[in-house]
């Protein structure tokens, strides 16, 4: 019977084996980085909105508190978005002819809500709760970045599980006193451990899977 494999095949096999392993590794690496890339986590994306609402003007320029518009942030899981009536509590008198605000006036006249496009979106299998964070010393800035510098809203943080856990393991450095929750540009005063005690946060509990996947 003639030889099926030529002796040279030995070398080729080694090259193929090593090459295959390297290719697998490369694919894994690419997958790892793509999975955490802004493209997949949505970080930095700026969806188009019906009205180009500027947090920079309203929060940074006019100093309006987040809770004027996101009223339910400290009493429910959902932060809430302002209704048309809220915009009109100022814009009934200000910028009443601006073309930019035409959809808002139209919305009030026809009693049809504005359709804002979601910027942040966790998967449905993750449980998140604003009230629990905001009433326990975590400021908006820790998760949403410098909102007062955003002419258009964008997602400032990756919002991956790793990112959530990084804080849940060591929340002390992020904690703020109660009256600085909505402040922007606040530098923690270094009294995290005292605050941890004051807010009665149990760090051993909040790293368990069931806290977020329930």
């Amino acid at each position: 019977m003639p030889q099926i494999f030529h002796p040279r095949i030995n070398g080729l096999t080694r090259i193929l084996l090593v090459g295959g392993a390297l290719a697998l590794l490369a694919v894994a690496c690419v997958a790892y980085f793509v999975d955490r890339s802004p493209y997949l986590t949505g970080q930095g994306a700026v969806p188009e909105q019906p009205v180009p609402f500027s947090h920079e003007h309203h929060v940074g320029g006019l100093g309006i508190d987040c809770r004027y518009c996101h009223t339910s942030v400290d009493r429910s899981t959902f932060a809430g978005l302002p209704d048309t009536y809220t915009c009109m509590s100022c814009h009934s008198q200000l910028w009443t002819n601006a073309q930019m605000l035409a959809p808002v006036r139209e919305s009030l006249k026809q009693d049809r809500p504005l359709v804002w496009v979601r910027v942040h979106k966790l998967p449905d299998f993750v449980y998140f709760n604003h009230q629990a964070h905001v009433t326990r010393g975590i400021g908006c800035e820790s998760c949403h970045g410098r909102v007062d510098r955003m002419p258009l809203m964008r997602q400032a943080k990756p919002m991956t599980m790793q990112w959530c856990l990084d804080c849940h393991r060591h929340p002390a450095t992020a904690l703020r006193p109660k009256d600085r929750i909505t402040a922007m540009g606040y530098a923690p005063a270094g009294n995290g451990d005292a605050l941890l005690h004051q807010y009665r946060i149990h760090t051993d509990r909040i790293t368990e899977c069931v806290i977020c996947h329930r």
């Binding site: 508190d65 004027y68 959902f78 209704d83 008198q93 049809r112 359709v115 449905d124």
Partner: protein, 163 residues
């Protein structure tokens, strides 16, 4: 898994009115824990430090953009051209009962819109009480101090004047 067959708050629901999953309550709906009796004539709970702190927080959020931090009526929105509200320290408003502030928050007043949707009744009373505290703060006199506070103040004053 990422999109489960349920509605998140405010999620769109094609086919329903306005494509909304959130429905408007039927006209005349009374919510479960809503007080049905008429509004009490004055503060329904005892005055406490916590109540005033809550009032300050809510006043700073909802009222100070127009009325200003001290109630003088010179907030940031007014500086951008919103009609100026009257100062909360006028004789008329200082003599107004707390219920008046409650009503203005609930129903609005002139060009000021209603804040009923965003400020629940207990917080309206807290804000009313805080406005009263603001008014007193602008019209305090030496006679309001206890003898001990007065001595303290005089001591500080002398300390300030000494070189």
């Amino acid at each position: 898994m990422r999109n489960q067959p349920r509605y998140d708050p405010y999620q769109a629901a094609p086919g329903w009115p306005n494509d909304q999953s959130a429905r408007m309550p039927v006209e005349g709906t009374v919510s479960r824990n809503q007080a049905v009796e008429t509004r009490p004539t004055t503060l329904p709970e005892p005055l406490s430090r916590e109540l005033l702190e809550l009032g300050r927080e809510r006043f700073d959020i909802f009222c100070s953009p127009c009325h200003g931090g001290t109630g003088n009526g010179d907030g940031a929105i007014v500086q951008r051209g919103f009609p100026a509200p009257p100062s909360l320290h006028s004789a008329r408003l200082r003599n107004a009962p707390l219920g008046h502030f409650y009503d203005v928050i609930s129903d609005g007043f002139g060009v000021m819109y209603s804040y009923a949707a965003r400020v629940p009744p207990d917080e309206r009373w807290a804000i009313a009480a805080y406005i009263r505290a603001l008014q007193l703060s602008q019209h305090g006199s030496l006679e309001d101090l206890t003898p001990q506070q007065r001595r303290e103040l005089e001591r500080q004053n002398q300390g300030g004047k000494a070189p």
